[in-house]
Amino acid sequence: MAPFKLAIQSRSGRVIASLDVSGDEAVMEVKKRLHATGKVPHPCRQRLTLLPPPGEKRGRVLDDDKPLSEYGLADGSAILFKDLGPQIGYATVFFWEYFGPMVVYPLFLLFPQIFYPWNKAPVQHSLVQQVACAYWVFHYAKRIAETYLVHRFGHATMPIFNLFKNCSYYWGFAAFVSYFANHPLYSPPADLQWKLAFALAMACQISNFYCHIILANLRAPGDKGYKIPRGFLFNYITCANYSAEIWGWALFAIGTQCLPALLFMLAGAGQMAIWAAAKHARLRKIFDGKDGREKYPRRWIMLPPFF
């Protein structure tokens, strides 16, 4: 293919660079060459888009793996560059946001003399409090293991600000729940209540793990397309993994009978609802039943029977 000139400009219209490219060159190659000019940051901070069509705000984002010919670019074409800001790896963020709760929660159980200094009497923790701590630590250890062994990430990086935001959320809630669940004046619920609740909660954790396995196996390595999840709870619910997670935390709140744990569950459920609605809408849009594509089956989004 004949090489042609491609202009890369900022949103204000200023031309940052002009490269001689060929149609079969991959977008990632262009990004590397841009970085090599010294005027543009590392490829994972670059977002390249086509110019927005008239009446729209954003142009189509150029996919790293696709060749330039995909996008109908010709001699004299221009594309837009946006700096996404300092980035950090997804797996790195996940590790730190899960490591915090795993370590912070037990602190309140193990060192009451530090966290409840006004309490002079020796603290005796009930069995449910110890079970709750073990459950909590297991939950976050499982999440870390899944990060490295199960999950396949759609994106490699996220903005570095997310590290602080996410860690504040997870670490903050861990301290909030743990402070009250391990409080010297904590009152345990009835035996049957907590034993049943935690048994069911463990079943939820196992279900959630199985859901993650199904999701990880949806795509072959390198395959970037969306697939319809099937099997197990996915036959009925689009984001069955979130469902299992939420029920698990609801049962944890019932088992500990601790209001902060309920608030933690509600906060998580709220955020997951937003993600689930978006994912459900995306899958329905892609699998519209036309041009030989499947039609996305009727399913609940995250929480039957209402949502």
């Binding site: 409080h183 009978q257 601790c258 209001l259």
Partner: protein, 217 residues
Amino acid sequence: MHRGLILGLTVRVAIMEGGSSADVYKAVDLPLKVAQSAAFLEIVHSALGIVRSPLFITTTQVFSRLWILWGIVVPVLQPCLAGSVGIPGTPPLAHLGFTTLMLAWASSEVIRYSFFGLKELGAVPYVSMWLRYSGFIVLYPVGVASELTMVWLAMPTISKTRMWSIHMPNAANFAVDYTIVCWIVVLLYLPGLPKLYMYMLTQRGKVLAGDAKSKQQ
């Protein structure tokens, strides 16, 4: 408008009629409660986009005033301010603080609303604009100092009576201590005031400079 009433009442009772501070409190009591509580509408207007103020700044300002009024002055200091019960050692400061608080709040509201009102009519005299963008320089620090004085005076009573608090043990395994809540809000004043102050200073620079430019033309 209510704020103007408060300002007027304060001035009249305190200065012209030579009334005691307790009389000032009794005079402004009801209009103050009505006017400040209605201020939450400012948040609604900002959220709906009817007004151009930034939502976060408006919410912060309104919430701090509502908290000072309904969370500190009314539940804790009212008996002392209305002259019926004394808090040992503090009455003069309480009355002074309350008066400066009223003057600061009422003055800034009168300036703000007259500016907004005239803006709607399309005819803003320079005095009004200058006051709106300069008054805060003195009124913010005076207002914040008065608000924090009210909190400082109320704290001993709040922690002694353990008011508005939930204690453990209880069935929900949860506790809230109003004393700690007050401390947290006070700590939020620390970054809050410089932020609001700088915001108004930059607004002042833009507006007064822009007006000077258009006058030159």
